[in-house]
Symmetry: C2
Subunit: 258 residues, 2 copies
């Protein structure tokens, strides 16, 4: 939504285009410089930083809604994207996280005004993984800021979004064992040390992170190249790359890395 007219149409007549009482929220994780980051949005009508999210258009499915929302905020399409959990505690969309003054200023609406946005709203959580360098975080008319935060230093988020982030991290870390990741996050050629470090950052632990690359080699998902990184005598580690076919197959069918 880019203009005031679009915002006001959304608040007053959005039910014509969107499903009521159901949203998608996206934990977009960014891998950069050995740190895991998270993309947050400061929405003008919310009092706290939140996950990027939005309502689902009537003509799209849930995955399409999540892909649209992550692409709008991160500037990247075709992210690795997985649904992880739906949140629906009564009272989760508490008006405490809404800035009443801003809401009225921007939309002419009051909190708890009857309308298509009233009532309990469940939210379907998706997580995505991208590299920070290629992403272009973008605020829209309704958000004043959109930026990366280190996962280890998140602010207090609005609504139940801190719980969502914790659940997204747990789900992502469980999925590390069952889906290959990293093809768009690591350089096309990488050393074993680099991919081990990548798994350390993603899994949040140093212990056993080398099991991942070892298992990836054993399963043929990463293959050794004839080329070495030249960093001096006796210190020339071999390069590896992902095997495209095995990677796509494993993304589709799942695997067990441990």
């Amino acid at each position: 939504m880019e203009t005031l007219k679009e915002i006001q149409d959304f608040f007053h007549k959005g039910y014509l285009e969107y499903r009521p009482n159901l949203t998608v929220d996206c934990a977009i994780f960014g891998y950069h410089g050995g740190e895991l980051q998270l993309l947050l949005v400061k929405n003008k009508v919310f009092t706290k930083w939140c996950l990027p999210g939005g309502y689902i258009r009537k003509d799209e499915n849930l995955d399409q809604a999540a892909a649209r929302i992550t692409a709008e905020r991160s500037g990247i399409s075709n992210l690795f994207l997985k649904q992880f959990k739906t949140f629906g505690d009564p009272g989760r969309n508490s008006p405490r996280s809404v800035d009443e003054e801003q809401l009225f200023k921007l939309t002419g609406m009051k909190i708890n005004e009857p309308g298509w946005l009233a009532g309990e709203t469940a939210s379907i959580g998706y997580y995505a993984i991208t590299d920070v360098v290629n992403a272009k975080p973008k605020a829209d008319y309704l958000s004043s800021e959109c930026q990366w935060f280190p996962v280890s230093k998140l602010p207090l988020l609005g609504f139940d979004h801190n719980e969502m982030v914790n659940e997204a991290l747990s789900a992502m870390r469980m999925n590390l064992y069952h889906f290959p990741i990293g093809k768009n996050l690591l350089p096309p050629k990488f050393t074993l040390k680099e991919i081990k470090h990548f798994y350390e950052v993603m899994s949040g632990k140093t212990l056993n992170a080398s099991n991942f690359p070892n298992k990836l080699i054993a399963l043929g998902l990463i293959v050794k190249l004839d080329e070495k990184r030249n960093i001096g005598a006796h210190r020339s580690p071999a390069y590896y790359r992902f095997d495209e076919d095995s990677y796509e197959k494993a993304l589709d069918e799942g695997l067990v890395l441990a």
Copy 2:
């Protein structure tokens, strides 16, 4: 819902008690005799067998709704229960799966009649695991039958419920690597052969199923007893039992079995 009056109240005034456009559907898996089974319901107003499901009361959270629905149909409370995915393709709650004649007979309503049940409805999928012996499948006023089917021989289900079952199986089989199961499914004392067979049935493969018990022993989740099953000379396998504390801790924190 036990009486005609309750059913009619639900169809006409259910919005007072339940959230609109959002349901819970439950894949209740039953372990018995070396076979994995699934509990299905023949609802009088649906044309095909379906997963047990229902709307969410306004005063309950999603887990509570799933626990209520699984307990009502299986007769067992406190099942191992996990949310696995939400389904929301446009058109998924197609009237093709509704028996128009029965609907009118039971409720006085027509398909596509405006009301709180109209419009796209997303459904949150949960799976549960129980033993078949202690379960007491129970139909209600709106369902004519409720019974177990072998997972390997399921009928064509209504709506998108076959897809739900496939996703539930995938999620359950991934979770086998991260949560202990089996405490209420195996006898209190069991042999390694029995627990290996249990994991074969749950995972749907014989390959590597013995990794599970080995890892459970290594992590202290199952412990060897001083007692053996006496089935003749040279054939007396040791008994094992689950360690209560490690089991509960692992259920809470997750683990990696592989």
